[in-house]
Each structure stands twice: as C-alpha cells, then as structure tokens.
Amino acid sequence: MYSLSAKQLSSLVKEGKISAVEVTRYFLKRAEAIDPSVKAFLTLFPEKALAKAHAIDEKIKQGKSVGKLAGVPVAIKDNIHIESELTTCASKFLADYKAPFSATAVRRIEEEDGILLGKTNLDEFAMGSSTETSAFFETRNPWNLSCTPGGSSGGSAAAVASRIAPLSIGSDTGGSIRQPASFCGTFGFKPTYGRISRYGLVAFGSSFDQIGPFANYAEDIALMMDVLAGHCPLDSTSIADSKEDFSASLSQGVENMTIGVPRNLLKELDPSLIDLFNNAINEYVKMGVKVVEIDIPLIKYSIPLYYILAIAEASTNLARFDGILFSKRSTKAKTLKEVYEYSKEEGFGKEVKRRILLGTYVLSAGHQDAYYKKAQKVRRLLIEDFKRIFQTCDAVVLPTVPSAAFELGAIKNPLEMYLQDIYTIFANLAGLPAISMPIGLDKNQKPFGLQISSAQMQDAKVLRLSAALEQQLKLQTCPPLFAKEFS
C-alpha cells in the first residue's frame, strides 16, 4: 500500500475497496516502525486520525460524497496551526503553545477528508537547512540515516519519503520545501506567492513564506494544489481564485514548451551531479521541449538579499515571542526587562538569535539605507529580470541544491549552511512557483532533485513539466530501507 499514490488511495477509499480506517492504521503502523529511526514527527494523532477515518467510512457507507483526500493521511509541519494542538515551531519557547485556530491550509485538508496524521519536525522557526536547529531532536534522511533530510521542512520531507505519510505540507521561505525534497527524493512544491493562504502559518519572512505540499508523485502534488490553492479573506496577500484544475492540466503535454537553463550557475554544482542534471534536460529535449541558455546575473545576489530582507521581516515577526503573552516566560525574571531578556535567552536557539540580531541590525537607523533599502531595490530588479525571461521561456530549470544530502553535523559554519539555498531563493524573492522533483541518485545512492520554476500564476505549467519528466524517467523513488511492509 505504501507505494500507492494519494490519488490512488483516495479512489480506493471512495470506491469502498479499502476503508479509511485500514489506510490510517496502515500508516500509523509504519510510523510506529519507521519513525523511531527517522524521527520525522514531533507529535502523532493516532486517536484523532482514526476517529476522522471512522467518520469518513461512515459517510461512504451512507452513500454521502467524500472529499478529494478521502482517507489519505497528511503530515503537517509544526509551524502550521491545527486548532487545539501544539504548534512548537521546534522551539523551546513554544513548547507548550497550543494553536487557538487552524490554518486555512489545514482546514482545507480537513474539509477534503484528509486525515491529519501528526506534526513534523523542522529547524527552529523554519530557520535552517538541515532540521538540526530543532530544539527537540534531529530528523534523519530516510535514504541514509546518518545524513540530514535537509530543512527547514525536513520532517515533512522525511515523512513522505519514508512513506509514513503519502502527503505532507511544509513551508518555504528560501528553499525550505524544495531543498529537503531534493535531499529526500520526493516532490516538493512552493507555489506562487499568495496561492495558498498563509493564515495559520507562524511567519518567518512574510513576503517570502509560502505553504506547499510534499508527495512522491506529481499527480499528488496537483491533487494537493487542487485542495490548498484559493483565495483566503484572512490573508491580505492571498491572490484571487484562478479556477485552475491542477490535476487536469497535468496531461496537457509539454511539447513545444521552452525551458531556460542558466548554465553559468552550474559551476556551483557538485561536479558529480552534473550528469544527472544534463540527463534530465536531455529527456526534455526528447519530449520536444526547446532548451535555451539564459543568463540571470542578479541571481548571484540571492543569498545576501535573502539574509537582509527575510531576516528583517523575521526580526519583527519573532518580536512577539517575549515571554509576555504566549511564549514561555523565564522563571528567573523579576522585572519587565528581565522577562524580555531571560525569556528570549532561554527560549530561542542560537541560529534564531543570530537571525533576529542580523534582522534588527539591517533595519536600524544608519544601516537601513545600506542594507534593507538597497536590497529592496535589487529585489525589484530581480523581479523585472524574471518577467523578461518568462516572456520567452515557459520555465527556468536549475538543480534544486548544489549537492546531495550531507552528513548530520557536517556543516558547522552558518555561512556555508546558507549556501544550501543558492538555487532556490530566487523563487521566493520573485514570488515564483517552483518545484523540486527527484531525477536520480548520486554515486552514494543519495537522491538529487531538479528544480523547475515558472512565472507567477503558472503553477500548473510547473506541475505539467514535472509530471512529463516523471513519466519519462520512471524512477523508483522509495528509499530501500523502507521499501517494504512492516507488520
């Protein structure tokens, strides 16, 4: 059952060939068997999941219609709210914080009869690229347990890759969905900014953050987009409904499309991976896709732009965690100043503190012109650059990451860690849809991902291109350790 797509599973459930309870029990069992070694989950909801599955089965029995995700377990990154459950953001500061409401994305999953399986691990407040900054524990890569699953949505990627859950959602501020998808050999999609409501996502960089799905099949990414995308009145940056049918658009073919490859950026890529990348491009050529070389000079500023703009926003978004209202107050604090100082000192991890300090610095008087304002200008130029490129190209194709998954603990220098996002940040800077999809394994049997991105609102085009390549490559994408039944 683990090798079925979410779409296949929900069809079987709808047709009554298998019950939602059976599906849920099956994946809960996999969680029990696999998660102690992968450690993808911070919380599991076995009772609630089974209760929801029972309710779905009951509906089917009564002949009532059920939703698009009928009976399919979905894992949720632990910075997205499920009402009355913990949202820890993998931070000690929020270890006891129960969400007072559900995120719009979560509500939509529930409305389509998806089953909330649990909350997944992440880098603290989604700040990191390895899930190592989680205040609770490290998550491991299902392909190689000594490696990182990537981050920050490492738990959601690992849960789907190890087939504990057929679907999960994460959040992507600079690559936090796509990089772990590449490391774990799954599909991970960051939609156009504003496509999926951010209501109920604990903000990191508000103008960068976007919720998106993980799955093992392109059709499941499309299925999730059919469920998640749409205007939300509670998020002012949410864009108007486009009435796109993502699933239906997958089969429309890619012949005569044009993809742009910024070849000069590939010098950052681990040379042993270049063949995998070129092979994927060749497959497109075989399908009748035109490949052109493009140049996006401003991409080289991605990392500095990101580490100015996103953390500037983050420094204010995280200001509310001060020990007063909903974050853990230091027991040592006696005065107001001590409440702020000790609570933050005890509550935030090192990376989060670093980013808050940097963000505060780039916004402060005397530095704002040199950093924040200049970066905003370059961001606008980059957006214009992409507009120009998408006048002639349907998509831009790049590796998702410069390397395959690294060993846990291998990257100690934060600046080196920041380079993980070198190929992914542009999509957040320009609000573009971008997917990472598996295109093969490196010589160490670690997965590697291709990133396809397109103009704003061209989410369906991105999915079409990934589905076409998926069909062409016909890869076995389940990590060998977990490509089996657990009883």
């Binding site: 926003e313 704002q368 924040y372």
Partner: protein
Amino acid sequence: MNDWEAVIGLEIHVQLNTKSKLFSSAPNQFGHEPNVNISFADTGQPGALPVINKAAIEKAVLFGLAINAHIPEECHFDRKSYFYPDSPRNFQITQFDEPIIVGGSVAVEIDGEEKVFGIHHAHLEDDAGMLKHFSQFAGVDYNRAGVALVEIVSLPCIHTAKEAALFATEIRSIMQYIDASDCNMEEGSLRIDANVSVRKKGETTLRTKTEIKNMNSFANMELAIDAEILRQIDLYQQGKTVTSGTYRFDLATGATILMRKKETADDYRYFPEPDLPPLFLDKNWIAKLKENLPELPRERKKRYIEKLGLSHYSASLLICDKPLGDIFEKGLSQAKNPVSFCNWLTVEFIGRIKNSRKSVEEFGLDILAIASLSNMVDDKIVTGKVAKQIADLMVENPGKTPEKILEENPAFAAITDCSAIETIVDDVLKKNPESVSDFLNGKEKAFNFLVGQVMKVCQGSAPADIVRDLVRKKISS
C-alpha cells in the same frame, strides 16, 4: 517676555468609531470587561494576519477631504518596532512615509480674526492595549489593541496655547461632523501630544522642543502649554538651555513635569508591513465621498451667522459641541426666531443644567419644548420673565411641556388686556404720591420704582414695555 515667541506643533490621535477594529473583526467598544473584544490578530497570535477594515479607510479619507488634503492614490502601512507589554506583536502597524492623508489645513477664528493652520499629514495606525497595575502584578487589557487611530500631525505653525486649543477643537468638530469619532478626551478617544519650543522673535530656526503628553482636556492643554512656554523662556533668561524630553502636566501645581529625557532619537526600524499589500484608492470612489461630504463645522457656522443671524460667539458655541449643534438643528424646525431660540438653549437651559454635567438630551429635556417656549415669548404669550420661571419648572420636571406648565399656572399668561394693567397702574400711582412727584421733579429713579411696583403686582406677567408706556402716560396726564 514680549520678544519671545512659542512654536507649537500638535499630534492628535483620534480613535475612529468604526464598528470593528482596524485590522480585525473584533468589536471596537469601550468600557467592557478586560480582554473580551479581542481577536487572534489583535493579540498578535502567531499565524494570525491583519486584514484592513474598509470603514476605517473611508472615515480617514472623509477627514482628508474635510481638511482639503491630498489623498494619494497609493499609500502603504509600515511596521514600527518597540517593546512594550501593551503592544502584543511588539510592533505597531502604522504609516511612516506614505500616509493616507497629505497636507490640508483648518481655519479657526481667533479674536474675530480667521487664522489658517497647516497640517503636515495624517495617517492610520492601530491602537495599543492598556496596562493595568494591581498591588502584586500588572495585567494587560487588549480590548483597545487594534482599534483604528488617525494621527493628525500639524505643521509647527501654532504660536499660542489658545491657538493650539482652538485648532484641536476644530479638529474634534470636524471628526464629529463627519461621524468619524466621538472625540471624548476623558475616555481617550481623542489624545493630544504637544511639541513646544520657544525662540526670540525674528529667529528663523527652531530651538530644542519638548513634548507634553497626557493632557485630558482642552482647558488643561492650554494651561500645560502656557506653563511649558513660561518654563522654557525662564530657562533661557537664566542663561540655561532647554533639554529634549517628555513632560506631563500636573494640574495641582500648574507645572509641566519631566517624565523621561530623550537623549537619543528612538529607532523604530520602520519598514513596509509585508502582510498588507499597498492600498490603492479609487479616484471615483474618493470623488463620490467628496460629493456626499456632510456639512462641516465651518460651513454650519457660516450659515448660522449669515442666514440665521446668530452672533459669532453663539455660532461658535453651537458648532464646537456637535451634539448641541445637532439638537439646535432639530429645534430649528419649530423655532420661529433662531436668535432667541439659540439664547434660550445655550444660555437659559444649558445654564440651568450645567451642574448636572449632562447634555440637554441626557437630562431628558425635549428640544422641541425649548423651541416652543422660545416661540411663546416671541408671540408674547408669556413674558420673558415668566418664561424663565417656566424654564425652571421644565428643568425641575423634565418632560413637562411649557404648554402644560402654563395650563397649570394660569397666572403665568401675559396680561395683554391693557385695561387690566391700567387698573393696577392707577392703584400704584395712588399709593405712591411721593414717587409721582419726585418723577415730576425730574427724578428718573422714581419712574423705575413705580414700574417695578406694577410689575410686582402683576407677578411679571405684564409686558414691561406696556407697563412703562402706561405709567408714563398716566403721570403725564
């Protein structure tokens, strides 16, 4: 002393009377139990997002139109960062460099002369919660957090405390006239900070300014600004300098008291609020609002003076207090003589109920009854003197009409029958022969005494002019 001038700029915070808050659907209500009128966004819950309240935008634009300001087609919101427990997100959502209202001015009348004061800009922002201190701890009430504020920043073009008070009063009137706020200083829906500096007349640059906060009435504001001006002049005259700081006014001592020094400029780290896209205002929508702008205080004042013939003083009195002006408007539908009706309302009745600290309506007085009393005097149904007695009874028995009072007291009716008055005059002259002869010997006082005697017998219900005529005629004949 006379060679000094003060330079004053005001920052006026007005709470808009929208049903819900600026960025959430929580009710905007005053005086409830703590933390009942709150939503996830108001308390800055992680994951909650602001959604702009269109009604607040509309009220702000109305104000901009009322002061003839420029309303840019595009404006945006910014985050202003500072840590304080009443600010749940630790940043305020405000407008820093592209506010909704740019420029504009208000005209006020000072000692019979019109003066125009410029406004730098006005912007929208959300209010903070309120700290409450208890014996062992402090609590935060977030009911006010997120309420829409318009902050109006004047140019530093005000030179006296009186001008400042009149300027602020005019702003309040405008806000009330466009139904944007009740502007109640005691409840905090109108809050004023004054920036004050002084300089030698003729100087063109500004000297160090101080800020005065927490002035809870216009009267106190005037006192506070005057005290601060004197304090600063005094310092300079002693050869000292003024240091920048925030002051409050102590009513008991009549002095401004330093709350905190400002050694460095605060760094609020403003940057555009990423959760709210820029706000685009449709020109046609603005034009439509402009067309439907209600009568503004200066327009109403002009009408009162030019069309109704009210004095400047009376007209000002009525426009400064919007609810009073509104009931005056209501009474106008009945009153035959606006000038005397205004007098009955603003002098006689307001004077009688002043100590209750209630408005005419709160007191239970019917404005139409007041209009009708004014008409009764005009129609000589009662004399002015008796009408005052009727007014006393109306205040003693709110709800009782002057007609009813007259019916219960037939003696109040004016004696319009001359023969009845003649009899009384004859009687008085007969009883006071000395006064009659004194008058005939040229003592005018004696005449007044005789008229008074007649009025006394009539208990005020004889029209004084008729009595005077009769007395003069009878003595002369």
